[in-house]
């Protein structure tokens, strides 16, 4: 009995000592990372986490004299899981801001939660215009889809001289459906015609029926604004069916998986995206590219999704600094006031929750993304 008592006393002393030691170091500021580590678009979330880790080697995770602690949470590329992950980060981990998710459909779900709880959330690549509309706490670090699709449609109509188009979009993702619609509007406004409009669903692997419809209508160009796995499989099957038309995609296909799964079939596929390492001009961008290469090999292309997530990290840190407080409300106001901040992909200004960013054109050449040109808004 005596021993037990002694043990308890010693344990209590140790615990209180621990508490003293802990309170001596400043308490960390917690930022949540609500990312797609598994599921349909696992490549985005994993690339984002890589990007955040690389940029935190350049810009120390410290702000207001306190260390920054990042808490990653997998949202399984699922809308409901993303909303739940946001609630969990806010309620259990007391985060002051959230980075992610990467895709628009999930952001529409998570944004509602953050708006209600008044905690800022910033999506690195959530391009759908609806995600930030009418919201005070939802932001993005990228351009919006009407801009991306309008430029793609104009390019197809003017530069590629396409008069007819086919669109195959993923009906289960807000992003894909909206891009398809914006492309169609602009393409038909210019005088072109969308002759085949078909849909698929996330996780679909067979597109032979839709592509046979495309083949019958014989358009000048095929627009596939889907995520990388679905898009790569669709292009492979299009070539299997003997379709030779140029294929145009959107930012969603900028992953190595698209190139690996597509192989020879995706050669010549063009797309609109956020950034390319060739456009890296600032010291920060160059340093980022260098560290990325050191970690993932010289041959690896610097992933765009990682770069955009790194931007979000910098935007949030800068906002906390300017707000001079860890109050989520003040951080949200500071993010909205971001002006000409130097980030990995250049400089960023935020207006009404949206970042003003240029569109980059790329084409697959010899199994790699080849930088073509950049269009400013």
């Amino acid at each position: 009995m005596r021993r037990l008592l002694l043990g308890i006393v010693v344990a209590l002393i140790l615990i209180s000592l621990g508490a003293v030691v802990q309170s001596a170091a400043p308490e960390p500021i917690v930022i949540g990372c609500n990312l797609e580590m598994t599921g349909q678009v696992a490549a985005y979330g994993q690339a984002a986490w890589e990007g955040i880790n690389i940029v935190s080697q350049i810009v120390k995770p410290e702000v207001l004299g306190r260390p920054v602690k990042l808490i990653p949470l997998d949202n399984k590329s699922d809308k409901i899981d993303t909303a739940n992950a946001s609630s969990r980060l806010i309620e259990r981990d007391n985060v002051v801001a959230i980075i992610g998710p990467m895709i628009s459909g999930s952001m529409l779900a998570a944004g509602e939660v953050c708006e209600k709880k008044e905690v800022p959330i910033i999506g690195p690549t959530t391009t759908n215009p609806l995600t930030t509309q009418g919201k005070k706490y939802v932001f993005r670090a990228c351009f919006i889809d009407p801009f991306q699709a309008t430029i793609a449609a104009t390019y197809c109509y003017r530069d590629l001289n396409a008069k007819t188009a086919a669109i195959l979009s993923d009906i289960s993702n807000d992003y894909c459906v909206a891009l398809g619609n914006f492309f169609q509007q602009e393409f038909e406004r210019l005088g072109g015609k969308v002759v085949s409009l078909t849909y698929c669903k996330a996780g679909d692997q067979d597109y032979s029926a839709q592509l046979t419809d495309v083949k019958t209508k014989n358009p000048d160009i095929i627009y596939i604004p889907n995520y990388y796995t679905e898009a790569a499989l669709a292009v492979v099957q299009a070539r299997d069916l003997g379709l030779t038309q140029p294929v145009f995609g959107a930012d969603g296909i900028a992953t190595e998986e698209f190139l690996a799964i597509g192989g020879k079939a995706v050669e010549g596929v063009m797309h609109t995206t956020f950034w390319h390492e060739k456009a890296a001009e600032s010291e920060l961008s160059k340093k980022y590219v260098e560290l990325y290469r050191a970690k993932y090999g010289a041959d690896d292309e610097v992933n765009v999704f990682g770069a955009l997530a790194a931007d979000c990290y910098l935007i949030v840190l800068d906002a906390i600094e300017r707000a001079g407080s860890t109050d989520p409300k003040k951080i949200a106001e500071a993010i909205e006031a971001t002006k000409n901040l130097q980030v990995v992909t250049g400089s960023v200004t935020i207006e009404n929750g949206d970042a003003i960013k240029p569109v980059v054109f790329r084409e697959v050449k010899n199994g790699k993304w080849d930088y073509k040109t950049m269009v400013h808004p």
């Binding site: 580590m37 598994t38 599921g39 696992a42 490549a43 994993q46 993923d170 009906i171 289960s172 085949s196 409009l197 078909t198 849909y199 698929c200 669903k201 996780g203 679909d204 692997q205 067979d206 032979s208 029926a209 839709q210 046979t212 419809d213 083949k215 019958t216 796995t229 790569a232 499989l233 492979v236 099957q237 070539r239 299997d240 069916l241 003997g242 998986e257 690996a260 799964i261 192989g263």
Partner: protein
């Protein structure tokens, strides 16, 4: 729809349907014998594709050898799952076995996520499968021709095993009445074990061909094909091998033709397939070839 388009879509449908048929047979065989819906079947399909992937990409074995080895390995996995997960609950209420099957399914999926990662991997397909063949006006990829031929070949072998060999006789006997079969001196556990081996081998063959046709693999790749094949097995009459084949081709053709006829509704085709399943469950729950089960006394 022009004749040309129709032929192309027919080829698409048969090619897809033959894969569903192959997977559906695995569901139906196990159900026929154990009255167990083996939910892990769709994940065994994934395991088969991964075995082939690693044998080709990591061990650099020739394609055909890798495929055969992967099928054999997957058959072993199927037998192991039966031994570890299903045999202990053989005499438990049927619902326990069903829950176990769901558990095994989740286990395999998450094991895949942890070990090989969630990002899809490209699957190398042999030249023979990648070549595009022109038959009249239709362009058909090698895969779409070989998949039905191989599937039908495998089914013929399977039917031979079931109806012409001693093992097949034992399997049919177990399906009719386990206890009486045991009394006749048949080692029931061995027969069930072989059933799992055959079912898993077919799933692996299906998985490898699936990966050739749609050249990417990921740990969750089996879920949708699995559901569709399960639907095919139910529509064909679960427990009946020929029924599963008919169901598989039917589902494949409906899926393709629905999109061909209503391209604007193509996003809802899964809804149509599962709607069809509901209709069948309401109107003819025993499926096309199924017989009404007599209560065993």
């Amino acid at each position: 729809m022009s004749l040309e388009t129709f032929i192309q879509q027919l080829a698409n449908g048969i090619s897809l349907g033959s894969l569903y048929a192959l997977i559906a047979i695995g569901y139906t065989m196990v159900y026929g014998i154990l009255r167990l819906i083996n939910f892990a079947h769709s994940d065994i399909f994934m395991v088969g594709a991964y075995f082939a992937f690693f044998l080709i990409a990591v061990f650099r074995l020739p394609w055909l050898l890798s495929a055969v080895l992967a099928v054999a390995l997957t058959a072993c996995v199927g037998m192991t799952i039966d031994r570890i997960a299903y045999r202990p609950v053989r005499n438990a209420p049927r619902i326990s076995a069903l829950i176990t099957a769901v558990g095994v399914s989740f286990f395999l999926e998450n094991l895949g996520l942890v070990t090989v990662g969630a990002r899809p991997k490209p699957f190398h397909r042999p030249e023979l499968m990648a070549r595009v063949v022109r038959i009249g006006p239709a362009a058909i990829s090698g895969v779409s021709i070989w998949v039905p031929i191989l599937s039908i070949g495998l089914v013929v072998i399977l039917l031979y095993v079931i109806y012409r060999t001693k093992l097949g006789m034992a399997m049919r006997s177990v399906a009719t009445d386990i206890d009486t079969t045991r009394l006749m001196g048949v080692n029931v556990d061995t027969v069930i074990s072989y059933t799992f081996a055959i079912g898993s081998a077919l799933a692996a063959a299906g998985g490898i061909m699936w990966a050739c046709k749609y050249p990417q693999i990921n740990p969750l790749m089996g879920i949708y094909p699995g559901w569709k094949a399960f639907t095919a097995a139910v529509i064909g009459g679960i427990g009946n091998v020929t029924g599963a084949m008919i169901g598989g081709f039917l589902i494949g053709l409906i899926e393709i033709m629905a999109v061909a006829i209503f391209p604007a509704l193509s996003g809802y085709r899964d809804g149509m397939i599962f709607g069809l399943l509901l209709v069948f469950l309401l109107v003819r729950p025993t499926g096309i070839l199924g017989e009404t089960l007599k209560e065993k006394v």
